[in-house]
């Protein structure tokens, strides 16, 4: 998965070209290094088992039907000592009481246990496995864990990642109970009233114990340490009800249905948290045993109320018309803007049914449709519109004194993010719908976009959520579906592709740009007229070979031969050490994404292949600031061998020299890679055994997920999105995408 790992270590030398005797004895003869540990290999589970069983029993014909099913899933993780186990059961029953009233009830429960690990990011497990010093063994000669990696003479010492996975307890148990029921009453022939209640009870039980035998999480914290325990117990109850009144009538060629309704929803989350440290032993892993215990509890709620109406009308199934209106209120918004109004209309025209169309055999369906509507988004977390207070305690008179500070802006005007979307679509079915072509053009303008943005510290904090700007997305989605038979063989094919163009139209407030990120990682910058979250930094145009070259170039203060040469974007003769010369160095939005499914079946055998891909977008490999760090404290990529060594031996033009950091680790285009890729996501082969004895049918199958990836991108996952949301395209390495092979059977009695 990680194709450029290597075991080259370059030491941080205080002299640029040390004499042989000046190198530490321990590192003087690299060929004599006893160990070459591939930490990534050590922490990954190359043969993770996976089992999944489901049994379903359904019964009933006519007025009452019921179904019971149970399932069991057991999956080992792609990282050692991780895994997921789940047991679930479901029962439902529904039926008619009489001709007017029907009702149903559904109950589902599941319990899962996950042994997890913090894997994402440079300082988490995967990152550490990549940069941990390979010259140290996993185990000592006596078979015990080598409990401190590195640390020789002050080089960053770290925890042994394998030991950490083995000795740390990290469990998350989740229990879900979901129940819903409905009552439906038909009256006056065309009216129907349906009332439903949905309740979800969710609980989480998390436990993390770090024994004293492990080194600390950061750098230079050798064991033994004080053992620590973190426990968290949370429970949420989500109750929602829907009341729907519908009227449906068909007369002659007209068909009409009208819907009125409202829906209300409330969720409450309660949590109890305890942290303890200083345990007398690593055996009793409960808070009771801790010398110091810190506990806390927490509760949060939100509510949502919506009224809606919808009218659908069609004439001869040829002219279709629909209009809807939704008014929705959310507790999350400021007092002045709790409510949002969301109208929508759509029209459809089935051209193929028109008289003027030839009654041709080959044309099965031709339809033109269009719609316009507004939708809302309130995904901002609870209480965001309020100025909340939090504790910041001090000491007065030699003892604890409670202190309180304001920890967020009050924003009574915080309101719904609204998206206005226009859709125009064409559906074409040919040859008895064996070939179906769909095209859809859309344009969506999102106004009052809700974003967490950085604010000057004078506000008392550094980030706030606000309705920050206006963004446009427009694009085209095309899909082609084809099926045919040649003799006994049936072929299926489906291809879809979507092109999206994204543009910031406006940024509200004082500054016209939103910068997220940092000088030494990269910035995601949004500015009007450009796509959202563009990767921004210096443009790297080469590596300085000589002092003369440095002198002849725009000033880069402190540059030495072997460091990167940047482009003087503003042309003032100086590469200034701030954002002045930073420009867009990558577009994190794919030009298009696509998927292709191919399938065939013959005589009980079936084959399906799924390809997916994305083209022309960029990812900033932030992790390489570490894995190409030439300080000699980290394991580095094999390509570090081809770094700049001298004017005569300049290497591959991408790796900078050792013993310096300035003009190397700033956000710059050297770390930007094209992440275009084609992924063979799934291949499956199955065989259905015809009916034998009491078995109705049995299907046996084998399948492979994420079989292979075709790309020039050097990371393990080109779809990575470290920062998430509107700040895409940053790779710090994350949980590996597993290649899964599975086989199974589906048996019907």
């Amino acid at each position: 998965m990680q194709n450029t790992r290597g075991c080259v270590v370059v030491l941080w030398f205080f002299l640029r070209s040390p004499e042989h005797f000046q190198i530490f004895v321990e590192f003087r003869y690299p060929e004599q290094t006893k160990y070459s540990t591939d930490w990534f290999e050590e922490i990954t589970n190359q043969n993770a088992r996976f089992q999944n069983y489901n049994v379903t029993l359904s019964a009933g014909k006519g007025d009452v039907r019921s179904l019971v099913s149970i399932g069991y899933l057991d999956q080992e993780g792609a990282v050692i000592e991780t895994g997921f186990e789940r047991f679930n059961a479901r029962a439902n029953i529904d039926g008619k009481i009489n001709d007017f009233i029907s009702m149903g009830w559904n109950l589902a429960a599941s319990r899962s246990q996950e042994n997890f690990a913090g894997t994402d990011g440079r300082d988490a497990l995967i990152g550490r496995a990549l940069w941990s010093d390979p010259r140290y063994p996993v185990y000592n000669e006596d078979g015990t864990f080598n409990d401190y990696i590195g640390g020789t003479g002050g080089v960053f010492g770290t925890v042994n990642p394998v030991q950490e996975m083995h000795e740390m307890d990290r469990d998350m148990i989740k229990t879900d109970l979901l129940t819903n029921g409905f009552l439906e009453v038909r009256f006056l022939k065309n009216f129907k009233f349906r009332s439903s209640v949905n309740a979800v009870l969710h609980s989480e039980d998390q436990k993390e114990f770090r024994p004293s035998t492990l080194a600390g999480g950061g750098f230079n914290n050798p064991p033994p340490r004080l053992a620590t325990l973190f426990q968290r117990n949370g429970q949420s109850l989500n109750v929602a009800t829907d009341q729907l009144l519908t009227y449906a009538k068909t007369f002659n060629d007209h068909s009409l249905d009208v819907l009125l309704g409202y829906s209300a929803q409330e969720e409450t989350w309660k949590e109890l948290i305890g942290a303890g440290n200083d345990f007398p032993d690593d055996i009793v892993k409960y808070l009771d045993a801790a010398a110091t215990v810190d506990a806390g509890s927490y509760e949060a709620s939100w509510s949502l109320l919506a009224y809606f109406s919808r009218v659908n009308y069609s004439f001869k199934d040829k002219y279709l018309l629909s209009g809807s209106y939704r008014r929705e209120g959310s507790s999350r918004f400021g007092a002045n803007n709790k409510w949002g109004n969301f109208p929508a209309v759509s029209v459809g025209w089935r051209i193929s049914d028109e008289d003027f169309m030839p009654d041709a055999q080959w044309l099965s369906d031709l339809k033109l449709r269009g719609s316009w509507g507004i939708t809302g988004n309130n995904d901002i977390g609870n209480y965001t519109s309020l100025a909340s207070m939090s504790a910041q305690n001090y000491i007065l008179g030699g003892s604890f004194a409670t202190g309180k500070i304001l920890s967020a802006f009050a924003n009574a005007d915080l309101g719904w993010e609204q998206s206005k979307q226009l859709d125009i679509g064409l559906d074409l079915g040919l040859f008895d719908n064996r070939l179906i072509f769909t095209a859809e053009y859309y344009k969506r303008v999102t106004d009052d976009m809700l974003l967490s943005v950085e604010v000057p510290v004078i506000s008392g904090f550094t980030r706030t959520i606000s309705n920050i700007g206006k963004v446009e997305n427009k694009g085209l989605e095309l899909a082609l579906d084809y099926r045919t038979s040649v003799g006994a063989v049936n072929f299926r094919g489906n291809f879809n592709i979507s092109f999206n163009k994204n543009k910031v139209l406006e940024i509200f407030g004082e500054s016209s740009e939103i910068w997220n990120g940092g000088f030494y990682s990269t910035y995601n910058v949004s500015r009007p007229g450009r796509p959202i979250g563009m990767l921004t930094g210096y443009r790297m145009i080469g590596i300085f070979n000589t002092d003369a070259e440095i002198a002849a170039s725009p000033t880069q203060d402190g540059a030495v031969p072997g460091t990167y040469k940047y482009w003087d974007a503003n042309g003032d003769g100086v590469i200034s050490y701030d954002q002045e010369d930073m420009i867009e160095i990558g577009n994190p939005h794919p030009e298009y994404i696509w998927a292709l499914t191919l399938g065939a079946d013959v005589k009980g055998f079936d084959l399906n292949v799924l390809f997916t891909g994305a083209q022309n977008y960029d990812v900033f490999r932030n992790i390489e600031a570490t894995t190409m760090n030439m300080d000699g404290v980290f394991n580095v990529l094999a390509s570090a061998k081809d770094r700049w060594r001298s004017a005569e031996n300049p290497g591959d033009g991408r790796g900078a020299t050792t013993n310096t950091w300035k003009w190397q680790r700033e956000s710059n285009s050297r770390y930007v890679y094209d992440a275009s890729h084609i992924w063979v996501k799934n291949i499956s082969v199955g065989y259905t055994i015809p009916k034998i004895m009491f078995l109705k049918s049995t299907r046996l199958f084998v399948s492979a997920e994420n079989l292979f990836l075709i790309t020039d991108f050097p990371g393990s996952n080109p779809e990575i999105n470290r920062r998430g949301g509107v700040n895409p395209g940053v790779d710090d390495e994350a949980y590996p995408v597993p290649r899964t092979f599975s086989m199974g059977a589906s048996i019907r009695f």
Binding site: L386, T402, E454, P456
Partner: protein, 496 residues
Amino acid sequence: MKKKILIVWLAGFILTSCQDEFLTIVPETALSSATFFTKEADFIQAVNGAYVPLRSIVNDRAWLLGEMHSDNTYYSRNILFGATEQQEDIADFAIPTANGVTSNAHVLSQYRLDYQIIARTNQILASIDAVDFDVDSKNNVKGQALFLRAYAYFELVRYFGKAPLHLTPVATRAEAALPLSSADELYQQIIKDASEAAALLPPKSEQDPGRATSGAAKTLLGSVYIEQKKWAEAEAVLLDVVNSNEYELIPDYADVFSTSTSNKNNIESVFEVQFLEGSAGLNGNFIYSFMPRPISPQELVTITGTSNPQPLDGEGNNTPTPDIIAAYEPGDERKDASIGYITLSGSFRTNKEYPYIKKFAKTHALHGNHGTNWPIYRYAEVLLLLAEALNEQGKDGSSYLNAVRSRAGLGDAQGDMREAIFNERRVELAFENKRWFDLVRTGRAVEVITAYGNRIKADPQAYYYPAGAAPRSHAFTNLDLYYGLPADEAALSPHF
């Protein structure tokens, strides 16, 4: 649960006023400003919260920007340890700065901590007058808030030379960016706030230990006047402090500084930042930052006395320079009280003995957790400031200077008084983050630091470099008197 389902079920049927109720959910486990700032206790808690950033300032930053950025201390270079550029840049006078902006993380952090104090005190000052409670208590809270705001701006103006002047709470993102105010404008406000604070606050004997007092506000004011060379004003306000009879010099210099658990806010202390040893998270750990490294548990425990010493790797900071060691006159008792020596078996230097700051290094129970308070203003400094204010007006301030000298076991000052006071401040207040500011305000920074840089380059091994190692090529190339403004804040403001 049944009741809840019923309420949710009915929610749609009910009247508009009840709808709003259904959609109004306030946090039950955290206070919001809607219910806060309504009574005396709220304001007392709010002002307590405004002191908090001071802890991080003195524990993590001020010694980097105010002491190691001078000829008093340096880092002890660990050649195997790479990721220390940002602090080395500060000590080496090599902070990358462009267009008046720097990306140095310590500078950013200091800036943010000062503005946190300002934001919190602005909130208090803006809402306190609308709430009715005991006038003495109200004056006390207002006085503390004004003192803290003045102190934060005084730090900002000395670090940056200019800064946005916010005096009211910022309620929206749009209000959060103001243009830079000049040093004069900032000083005007600092003097106004500190003067008001001095009038509102009670004397130390009537105040909770740890809170700002009228003496603290007057000392701050005196220090500001001296910075501005307003000698007569400084003299008046500092004399007030002396005549208040609230403060005395402690006879033995070694007893002036707090231990981890006692001797806090003592008779010589005018204002200090409070720490508390233990598991409440209110402890400090600055003496660990000041240890030369790599240091073994056996070596470290001789200083800390903890039951669970751990090794410290990486690069040591704030190591006293040969210059400060040489600055003590023969017989000065403060030298041994301020500076200790430790031999590090793991050192890469030929001479494995390092000096370390001893005056704060008091024993405590657990590794990395001590309760030693940090002095901001001491009475000894009040006397030295007063001596300076008098001397600069041609008056005789020698008695105040000599009181400080005599406590250190030294005779009366000889020679040029201005030089004598300047040198006295250096050794009396060594490692209390005064040195860089003193160099700048006396106009000596460039001259002193240039000479200091040349000494390091000429003999790096005397400044704790291992044999063969030399200062980085760009060391001592940025002798600006002010730090660049932080880049991350500049990115959020159209004004700088």
